[in-house]
Symmetry: C2
């Protein structure tokens, strides 16, 4: 049973170490600024091994990229898609909460995504199935929004404004973190994180008040 080529998954295998290091470096610096030597060093292995396991820098990047995109939109879209009948306001609360949690764990993800959107590393198609898994989110979530509008429960708003506002309030602080902190005079990282925790509750409230008639 514990035979076969695949390892017992006890300790981190070399391949996994490289991938982990690649995720860290790529996510931190983007494709162009990241050097394979950095990744090798971070993984504590030789540069040649990187090309032994993964054929090239670009292949390695695309691997990391797809996993990052999955993180960024996949799980979320799936959860939304699986609960299509949850009340609109609860969907909203759920999204904010789980997204902020995810970003607290991977704070560099927004920069990474932004970087590839702007025409970053590997040949990214923004219409990739991965990205368009968000279509599910759009379908369900925007449908809920329109329903609320039609029933006259909220102020009319263009879907793009709504989506933009929600994403902005959730994601942007993580991108602008250094600027925000110096601007407001915060130096402690813990303080920033606890403020982000606050936003999990605050953002839905803010959005609700925006939509109030």
């Amino acid at each position: 049973m514990a035979k076969g080529k695949t390892k017992p998954a006890k300790e981190a295998t070399t391949e996994e170490k490289i991938k982990a290091a690649a995720r860290k470096i790529f996510t931190q610096k983007g494709y162009a600024a990241a050097r394979t030597r950095d990744i090798a060093e971070e993984a504590g292995i030789n540069l040649a091994l990187l090309n032994y396991y993964f054929r090239s820098k670009e292949r390695l990047f695309e691997l990391v990229m797809k996993e990052n995109i999955q993180l960024f939109v996949g799980n979320l879209a799936e959860n939304i898609g699986n609960n299509p009948h949850r009340p609109f306001i609860e969907q909203l609360e759920y999204i904010c909460s789980s997204y902020v949690d995810m970003l607290l764990e991977y704070p560099n993800l927004p920069f990474f995504i932004m970087n590839i959107i702007q025409s970053g590393g590997g040949n990214v198609d923004i219409n990739d199935p991965l990205f368009s898994s968000v279509a599910k989110l759009r379908g369900v979530f925007i449908y809920g929004l329109k329903e609320e509008m039609e029933k006259g429960r909220i102020k009319p708003i263009h879907p793009l404004h709504f989506i933009a506002n929600m994403m902005s309030l959730i994601i942007f602080p993580f991108i602008a973190k250094p600027l925000l902190m110096t601007r407001v005079g915060i130096t402690d990282n813990k303080e920033f994180e606890s403020l982000m925790q606050e936003r999990k509750k605050l953002i839905p409230e803010w959005i609700r008040s925006m939509l109030k008639k």
Copy 2:
């Protein structure tokens, strides 16, 4: 009068052409991904000339960077600073309007700034005088916010949340433009721009409703 070493500024001088090309390429791709060859080609000149006028890629970048940062925070902060007694709500409206206008003209600026914040090209000190010219904005603007809170005219809010929300709503849509457009099914650039125009009025309204007691 029209003598001296400096040109009559009739046609674009070579130096200016290079700088313009550099701004375009650097702003679009960031420091690491930009190649001096791209810049030279964009400027329609030989690569050697780039090093003749500006000593190195890094010097050229720092030049562009400082001008971009100036664009991003300078003029705004100055205007705010020069009208410290304008009513709070008018400050807010003015900021949104002029910032969106500026971003419509330089839509890649947010990407550029975020890129150097994340540890981009030249040795950027985020406590640079240029950045801290924003201190002026902070000083005046946050003061206005606190005053409103003390007078009980708005709901209490942490200054970071307030600044973050304002910046988010203004800036983020320009960063996420491609994603937003596919998500909502917009293909025409003009439509996106006119939606951004709408936001000049909408954002202050949204923020006001957030702060309403």
